[in-house]
């Protein structure tokens, strides 16, 4: 068995001038302070890639101070598949000395350091890198006139980068114009002059070689570029979800802000409630009224919604619950990523209250999983969790524009009269809620939905047999759902040494790791689980094909050494070969981290 590839491309012989001019893939990191607008500069690059049939993935950090403070924005652009934001940078732009010191270690050997020579003095003795100093601050002020101060640095740097990578300036200028459309004329012009100043800078004099991206295949469908929270919101709109209620919390807020702003255009409504208890209750009021509704939050708020979600399970009222996970427990690490809310989503309710739990694997999947979640909630009249996370919420990806005409779901309210045999809680079938306004035949009993145990008509009961039957009714509909979930496909080796099992946003690094390891001859495959409760059937057959099964997740190994999904799989399959790779540093997995662990002899 070959030894693992050292992810660090070795040898000091490797120098920028040896790099080939035509590249398929580049990782660019901008490091400065959050005021510097590096996010928007990075966003332009991402949007450009989206418009150029290239794949793109971004990564950013938010300072823990309330405003200002160091922050980075990283963008990886690839002609061909981009699965992660990259383990190391090909091109690092630093605005300040602290940015340089903090991030130089992330620059790949032979990588290019572009620094603001007005603020930064790099250690040019370190021969591993190529140094390009540009008086960014000064030149920007010059270009824009003193008034603008050094605002516009970000766009100036965008110009520089456009030059270095021969980016499509026409498309970029268009993006800049669109971005500031509606704003004062002068704003657009200032931005454009900053961009041109950067682009005009003779960087060629200091950089031996400039780069070309191999062109993407523009024949395919157009791409849309957005972050995971936008994708969730748009997915809900496509799913015909027209009502919701929530309360602000990082990193969930932007989902509710988008819905609050967009829904009125669709004749719908999203309400900011006084707290999460009110939010989930109001959402249930919407759903009870016949309008499938969404609520969401991050860990602290989801904890507060626990009781009401239990009511939804018991009363069998559909509901969508979005948890954009962050570091926990308690207030925890509000701006870091973690996958430590899986247990709560699956087991958090008191009593036997089974819940459907789904997790999107990419920004694109955020859109599609919202559609699926709504379908399941409607069909099975039950609460459905979507477990996203801080990394998906804040990162930008470009993906093929969804085919809306075929995907859009209606939002119609069904209050068609019910027949004389209507029962709110039939034991021989799945509950189909009859909202207020539904006419029943004269003399029949209108339904009262309830959180008390009940008979088929919703009357409270203490009958032992009915509690047995109703508990089974609420559980077995999830078992029925399980039979409809396709067994996930295996990526990479279909059998052999190691199977990597992932869920949620670890999809990218895991699959890139498999890809890399396969090229090096390792027999590694991966399955990604989007349906966490109920689990898809048939996983045991996949596990059987591999010698080791390693479940990879961003949470703690817990008391007995197994992560949250790993434990759930072990409980179901009792297969001792199920191992666990976990971490709790609040950062996304690097490809290297995964390979180093699973391939270590």
């Amino acid at each position: 068995m070959p030894t693992p590839a050292s992810p660090v491309t070795d040898s000091s012989s490797n120098r920028a001038d040896l790099r080939k001019e035509h590249i398929k893939d580049a990782v660019i990191r901008l490091a400065g302070n959050s005021q510097d607008g590096i996010q928007s500069a990075g966003a332009f690059l991402a949007r450009l890639a989206g418009r150029s049939a290239q794949e793109v993935m971004t990564y950013m950090t938010i300072p823990s101070t309330i405003s200002g403070g160091p922050s980075i924005f990283q963008v990886r652009i690839g002609t061909g598949e981009v699965l992660s934001a990259g383990d190391e940078a090909d091109f690092l732009v630093v605005f300040y000395q602290h940015s340089y010191e903090e991030h130089i270690g992330f620059l790949k050997e032979g990588g290019i350091l572009l620094y603001d020579s007005d603020h930064v003095q790099p250690d040019t003795q370190d021969k591993r890198f190529v140094y390009v100093g540009v008086p960014i601050t000064g030149l920007t002020v010059e270009a824009l006139g003193g008034t603008a101060k050094d605002k516009g640095k970000n766009i100036f740097v965008l110009g520089l980068i456009a030059r270095v990578f021969h980016l499509n300036t026409v498309k970029l200028e268009k993006l800049i114009q669109e971005k500031f459309a509606g704003k004062d004329e002068s704003v657009v012009n200032t931005a454009l002059s900053a961009f041109h100043a950067g682009y005009a800078y003779p960087v060629g004099d200091v950089l031996a070689k400039l780069y070309h991206f191999e062109p993407g295949d523009e024949s395919g469908p157009p791409q849309v570029t957005m972050d995971g929270n936008q994708a969730l919101a748009y997915g809900l709109l496509a799913a015909g979800v027209r009502y919701g209620s929530g309360y602000p919390i990082t990193p969930w807020s932007s989902v509710m802000e988008t819905l609050r702003t967009e829904l009125p255009k669709y004749g719908g409504l999203f309400v900011q409630a006084e707290d999460e208890l009110a939010a989930v209750s109001m959402a249930l009021g919407f759903s009870y009224a016949g309008n499938l509704a969404v609520t969401g939050s991050a860990g602290p708020g989801i904890s507060l919604k626990t009781e009401a979600i239990g009511w939804a399970s018991m009363a069998e009222i559909p509901l969508l619950v979005i948890n954009v996970q962050r570091g926990g427990p308690s207030t925890g690490l509000p701006t870091n990523v973690e996958q430590s809310d899986l247990y709560q989503a699956v087991f958090g309710g008191h009593g036997d209250s089974p819940r459907v739990v789904l997790a999107p694997k990419t920004v694109e999947d955020c859109f599609y999983i919202a559609l699926e979640a709504a379908r399941i909630a409607r069909e099975f009249s039950t609460p459905v969790f979507i477990l996203s996370d801080a990394s998906l919420a804040t990162r930008i990806e470009a993906f093929d524009e969804p085919d809306l005409p075929t995907l859009m779901q209606p939002s119609t309210l069904d209050i068609a009269p019910r027949g004389p045999d209507f029962k709110p809680y039939p034991l021989n079938g799945i509950t189909k809620h009859a909202p207020p306004g539904t006419l029943l035949p004269e003399g029949s009993k209108y339904p009262v939905v309830t959180g008390l145990e009940h008979d088929e008509f919703g009357h409270p009961t203490g009958s032992p047999q009915l509690h047995v039957d109703m508990t089974a009714k609420r559980r077995s509909k999830l078992q029925t759902l399980a039979t409809q979930i396709p067994t996930p496909k295996v990526y990479g080796s279909q059998s052999g040494d190691i199977l990597l099992v992932g869920w949620g946003s670890t999809y990218g690094p895991i699959h890139e790791a498999v890809k890399l390891a396969n090229t090096e001859g390792f027999e590694i495959g991966a399955v990604h689980i989007r349906h966490l409760n109920p689990l898809p059937n048939g996983l045991e057959h996949i596990f059987a094909k591999f010698r080791r099964v390693v479940v990879i997740e961003m949470n703690d190994g817990g008391l007995y050494g197994y992560g949250q999904l790993a434990s759930i799989l072990r409980a179901r399959y009792c297969d001792p070969k199920i191992e666990s790779l976990t971490k709790t540093d609040g950062l996304t997995y690097r490809v290297r981290e995964i390979l180093n662990h699973v391939l270590k002899p």
């Binding site: 709109l237 967009e262 939010a279 209750s281 009021g285 009781e307 306004g437 004269e442 003399g443 339904p447």
Partner: protein, 307 residues
């Protein structure tokens, strides 16, 4: 969007009656239920568009006893639940029922924000000054000195003044009644239901099991006094001067401060745009801005902006 069918049969007490109440014999809530039936009979609302909602408590079992669409939600969260129904279904009539614990203790904040936002619904609070269903603990309206299982030597916390709380919170219709006064209850419920906004009727409803005689002081049959607020008729007469102006917040707040058993009737009744209307206004203007585009067109346009 109303689904009222022309051929609808008249709404009778019989049609409205559901399970026999599980309340203790003599519980004040029976009379509240009877008054609610009567009020519905008088109003003849489309049967399928009546919805009765509640939290948890003896009084909150109300929906089971009314044959209408209904929901028995969780303790203290019925106001936001009802708000969801009200805000998304202008065609249904939302009636909410509950107790003093459900409404003023665990549910106090929701009551307040619902009132502030003036969400259109009618909320009947059966106030018995005690936790009934859980068998005699102190409630936020229990008077000082009341002996309960959680205050064996007598309650010591100053109780909530429900009417003051409601007025301050922003409820636009605030009334008070007594479970022994059926006609008065019916009147109050009618006016509450007719009011376009967050309307609340607090009804003193005796818990014969755990706080018998609590409201005798206002029960003529127990030689108490049932004193009703005289409302201004605006006839310019001298005596009208002395009467209560239900649109005067300060006056209402003052009246609410009278010692127990205080006054009954309408304390406050003012017009203020409902959240229902304000959100609808925004929805309408948004729909116009987008020229009533279809859902597909709207989402497509959003995508086009991020291509």
């Amino acid at each position: 969007m109303s689904t009222e069918s022309p051929a609808a049969p008249p709404l009778t007490k019989k049609a409205l009656t559901a399970d026999h109440p599980t309340w203790c014999p003599g519980c004040g809530d029976f009379a509240v239920l009877a008054s609610f039936y009567k009020m519905l009979e008088k109003r003849q609302l489309p049967h399928q568009n009546i919805v009765t909602l509640a939290g948890i408590g003896c009084s909150s079992r109300f929906p089971y006893f009314v044959n209408s669409h209904g929901a028995h939600f969780i303790h203290g969260r019925a106001v936001p639940f009802a708000s969801g129904v009200s805000l998304s279904r202008p065609d249904v009539h939302v009636f909410l029922f509950g107790g003093d614990g459900d409404g003023f203790s665990i549910g106090g904040n929701h009551l307040e924000h619902g009132a502030r936002k003036n969400i259109r619904l009618t909320y009947v609070i059966m106030d018995n000054f005690v936790y009934g269903l859980t068998k005699k603990q102190t409630s936020p309206t229990s008077p000082i000195g009341y002996r309960s299982k959680t205050d064996p030597t007598g309650a010591i916390d100053q109780p909530v003044n429900p009417i003051k709380k409601l007025i301050t919170a922003g409820a636009t219709f605030v009334a008070r009644s007594h479970a022994t006064q059926v006609n008065h209850m019916i009147q109050m419920m009618e006016r509450a239901h007719d009011h376009d906004g967050f309307s609340v009727v607090e009804i003193l409803s005796e818990c014969v099991e755990f706080f018998p005689g609590a409201f005798d002081a206002a029960n003529p049959r127990k030689n108490g006094q049932f004193q009703v607020i005289e409302e201004k008729t605006w006839d310019g007469s001298a005596e009208d001067e002395a009467r209560h102006d239900v649109t005067d917040e300060i006056a209402a707040y003052k009246l609410a401060g009278l010692p127990f058993p205080g006054l009954f009737g309408v304390f406050y009744d003012a017009a203020r745009p409902t959240k229902n209307a304000l959100e609808q206004k925004w929805i309408n203007s948004s729909r116009e801005k987008v020229r009533h585009a279809s859902d597909l067109e709207l989402l497509q346009a959003s995508f086009n902006r991020i291509k």
